[in-house]
C-alpha cells in the first residue's frame, strides 16, 4: 500500500511538472472554451486537492476521464488495452520459459558439443539483436516474402495474428533463459551431491528429475521478475510495430498527447501488477526452496 501511494504521488507530480498541456492545440482555444475544459477536468483546483480527488477516485476504481479520447474513461481504456498486452505477454513468457529452459538443458547435458555451441551462439544473437530489428525482419520474411503470416493487426487476438508478435517479444528472453539454464545446470551437474548420486549408481533419469531440476531452475524463477519487466518494455516496441491495441501503445500515445490521466493510469496499473507479481514470485521461490524464504 505505501508502495502504491509513493508510486501514485511520483507519477502525479512528474506529470504535473511537465511542460505543454493537454489543451495545447495547433489552433489555439478560445479562452472561454479553455476555461470550461479546465473546469471539466478539475484542473483549477489546488494541486493537493487534485491529488486527493484522484486517489479518492482510484479507490473506487475510477482512473478519471481520458484527455486524448474525450468520450472514454481511462478505466475503459485500460480494460480494453490490458487483455491484449496480457495475452501477448503471457504467451511470450511461457514460450520463452519453455523453449529457453529446454534448449538450455539440452545444451548443458551436451556440454561443449557442437549443439552446445550452437545454442550459446543463438543465445548471444537473441540477446544482441534489439526487437525493433527482429520484428521487421520476421515480417519481411514470413509476411511479405512467404505470405504465410499476417504482418500486423490484432484481429481479436487469434492465433495467426499473435505468432510473430509473440515470437519477436519472446526471443531475447528465450535466449537469456537458455543461457541461464545452461549455466546453472552445468554447475549443478558438477556439484558434489550429483556426483555422489552418480557414484551411488542412480540412473541418469532419476538424478535429473530428483536432484538436478529444482536447483537448476531456481535462478530461472528468480529471473521471472526481470523477465516480466523486460516483456512489458518490449511490448511497447512490439505493439507499435505490429499495430496491436495494447497498453504499451496507449502509454506512448498518451505520453505524446499529454493524456495525463491515461499515462498515470497505466503507470499505476502496471505498478500494482508488478507488486502482485513480485509477491507471486517470492511465494513460488519459497515453495521451491524453503531455505531462501527465511533469508529474504
Amino acid at each position: 500500500m505505501p508502495t502504491l501511494l509513493i508510486l501514485i504521488c511520483l507519477a502525479f507530480f512528474l506529470v504535473k511538472a511537465a511542460p505543454g498541456g493537454p489543451f495545447d492545440f495547433e489552433r489555439s482555444l478560445p479562452e472561454e472554451v479553455e476555461a470550461n475544459l479546465r473546469a471539466a477536468y478539475n484542473l483549477d483546483d489546488p494541486v493537493y486537492l487534485q491529488l486527493a480527488k484522484y486517489i479518492g477516485n482510484l479507490l473506487q476504481g475510477d482512473f478519471g476521464p481520458s484527455f486524448q479520447y474525450r468520450d472514454y474513461t481511462v478505466t475503459e481504456l485500460i480494460s480494453t488495452g490490458f487483455p491484449v498486452s496480457l495475452r501477448l505477454g503471457v504467451a511470450a513468457i511461457l514460450l520463452a520459459l519453455f523453449f529457453g529452459s529446454l534448449i538450455g538443458s539440452v545444451a548443458a547435458l551436451n556440454q561443449n558439443s557442437k549443439l552446445d555451441y550452437g545454442v550459446m551462439f543463438f543465445g548471444m544473437i537473441g540477446i544482441s539483436i534489439p526487437n525493433f530489428v527482429m520484428a521487421p525482419l520476421l515480417v519481411l520474411f514470413f509476411s511479405i516474402g512467404l505470405k504465410a503470416l499476417p504482418a500486423g493487426g490484432y484481429n481479436g487476438g487469434d492465433f495467426y495474428h499473435m505468432i510473430l508478435p509473440v515470437v519477436s517479444l519472446a526471443l531475447p528472453q528465450m535466449a537469456y533463459i537458455a543461457r541461464l539454464t545452461r549455466g546453472s545446470m552445468i554447475e549443478v551437474l558438477s556439484s558434489n551431491f550429483v556426483r555422489t548420486a552418480k557414484a551411488q549408481g542412480l540412473s541418469t533419469r532419476t538424478i535429473l528429475l530428483s536432484h538436478v531440476l529444482k536447483p537448476t531452475f531456481l535462478p530461472v524463477v528468480s529471473y521471472l521478475g526481470p523477465a516480466t519487466a523486460a516483456i512489458i518494455t518490449g511490448s511497447v516496441v512490439v505493439e507499435q510495430i505490429f499495430g496491436l491495441p495494447g497498453l504499451g501503445r496507449y502509454f506512448v500515445q498518451g505520453a505524446l498527447n499529454r493524456d495525463y490521466t491515461l499515462v498515470m493510469g497505466v503507470v499505476v496499473f502496471y505498478g500494482c501488477l508488478i507488486i502482485v507479481f513480485n509477491l507471486v514470485v517470492d511465494t513460488l521461490y519459497g515453495f521451491i526452496d524453503p531455505k531462501i524464504k527465511q533469508n529474504r
Binding site: 472561454e32 472554451v33 519481411l140 490484432y154 500515445q253
Partner: protein, 552 residues
Amino acid sequence: MNNRIIALIFGLALFGCSPSTDNETALKEIVIGGTSGTELAEDQVFRKNNGSDPGTLDPHRAEGVPASNVLRDLYEGLVSEEANGNYIPGVAESWTISDDGKTYRFKIRENALWSNGDRIVAEDFVFSLRRSVDPKTLSNYSSMLYPIKNARDVVLGKLSPEALGVSAESEKILLIELQEPTPYFISLLTHSTTYPVHPASVKKHGSAFTRPENMVSNGAFTLSNWRIQDYILLTRNKEYWDDANTTLSQVYYYPLDNPDASLRRYRANELDFTDTTPSEQLPWIKRNLKEELKITPYFGSYYYGFNNTKPPFKNNPDLRMALSLAVNRSIITDIVLGAGQIPAFTFVPPVKEYQGKEPAWAKLTQEERERLAMDFYLQAGYSMSDPLSIEIIYNTSENHKRVALAVASMWKKTLGVETKLRNQEWKVFLETRRLQEETEIFRGGWIGDYDDPYTFSELLHSENEMNHSGYKSTKYDALLKSASLKPAGKDRLNDLLKAEQIMLSDMPVIPLYFYVSQHLIKPWVSGLEGNVMDHHYSKYVKILKTETTSSE
C-alpha cells in the same frame, strides 16, 4: 577477431533470409476488374490506414485530419464534395445567397434521413450549429464558425447560443446569416464543425452519443465498432438518401502511426490505402510500387518562422533575407523529401484563381541567390569568420528532422551559420512556439481549413493568435481587413496578393515548400481522385475484382 567474423556471418545470414521482394509479383499476373476492367469484387471492404485514432467522433469537438477522414464518411453537411473536390449539394439540395452576400437560404432534401430513419429537418441544423459554437461543448474548432453572425460572441461567452445567426424558416428551409460576406463560406460547410448531430440522441446520451451503440449519423456510413488503437469499422448506411450509389459495404480505419509498419502491412495486402509514405523509403517505393503511389498537390505550406519579437531577428530583415536566400529549396523537395513537393517562394499555395507572385530572386540560380545571401549576411553584421549561431525548434518527426538537418547544413555551407537542432514533442512544441520566449527559428506548417488564400493570409495578421512569428505590419493588416469586406472576385484576391508581397519583402517566415499528399492505393481500389484538400469520401470507392493467373 573471432567474434567479429561470427557477427558478420550472422548479419549476412539475416539479410540472406530476407527474401528479395523486388519481384513480388513477377511470377503471377494479376487481372483487375475482370475482362471489362470494371467488374466488382464480392467483398466490398475498404481498408485504410488513418495514421492515428481520432480523439472523438463528435463532429463538433473533433480535431485533426484522422477525425475529419472518418467523420466525412459518417456525416454529411449541407454541402458535400465530389471525388475531385468540387462542391456539390449535400443534405441541402440547393441554396440561394442574398445580394449582399450575407444571408444563405438552404433547402434541405426531402429524402434526407438519419440512420435511425428520422427525417432531417432544418431545426436539426439549428440545434447542431448552436451546439458547435456553445463554449460548453468544449469545441476546439468553434472559431471556424466565426463568419456566422454573432458566432464569435457566443464562443467567447458574451452571448447565448440562441443568438447565433441561424434559424429554421420552415421544416426544410434553413437560414444562415453572416457577419461579413465570406466568399469561402460554402467550403466551410464541408467541415465537421458544421455537420448536423441527431438532437434526440445527443440529449439522451450526452458525450456517449458517439459510441457505436448510440450513434445516429446521416452520412453514407454508420459506426459499427470502434476498438481503440485497433480499428474503426463503418458499415453502409441503408437510410442514406444516396445509398443507391454507394458500393462499399464496410470501411476499416486503422490507426497505425508508424509509416514503416503501415508500408509493410500494405505490402502484405492488409491495407488498401495508406495515409502517407515514409520519405526515406520513397526511392524504394518508386522503384517497386510506382503505379500505386499517388501524389497530388495538397493545400499546405511548410515554412520556417523567425521569432520577430527577439534578437537576432527583431528588426533585422537583412539577416532574415540572407537565411531565406541560402536555402536551396529544390534540394529539400527533390532529394530530402523526394515526393514531388513544390519549392515555395511564396507563403500561400496556389488555390483556385489565386496564384502568389514570386519575388524577383526566385528566378535567380541558386548560386546567385547564395551570393546575394552573403551580401545580406554581411550587411547584417555577420561573416564566415564571425558567424551567427541559432537554434531550430521542430516537433518530433522523421521528415521535420530531415528538413532541419538539410537546412542547417546549407546555412553552414553558404554562410557559416552554426545551427543547433532541438526537437520537442508536439504539445511541448506548441507551447514553446506560442510563448515566443525561447524560440529563434521554428518549424511551421499549415494546411488550409478551406480552399481560400485567406486561411493562410490570416496566419500572419498581427492579432492572430497563431501568428507565432510575431510579425506585425500595419500595411499587411490593413489589406487583409480590406479584403475581408469585399465580395468574392479579383479585387479581393488582389488585396491578398498585395499583402503577401509586402510580407515577402519583410520575410518574417521562410517559405520552404508546398505540401503534396502521398498515398499508396491498391490497384483494385477505384473511384478515388486526388484533390487539393486531400478529402476522400468512401462512398465513391469501389473494390474491383482481382484474379491471379499464372503467366506460364
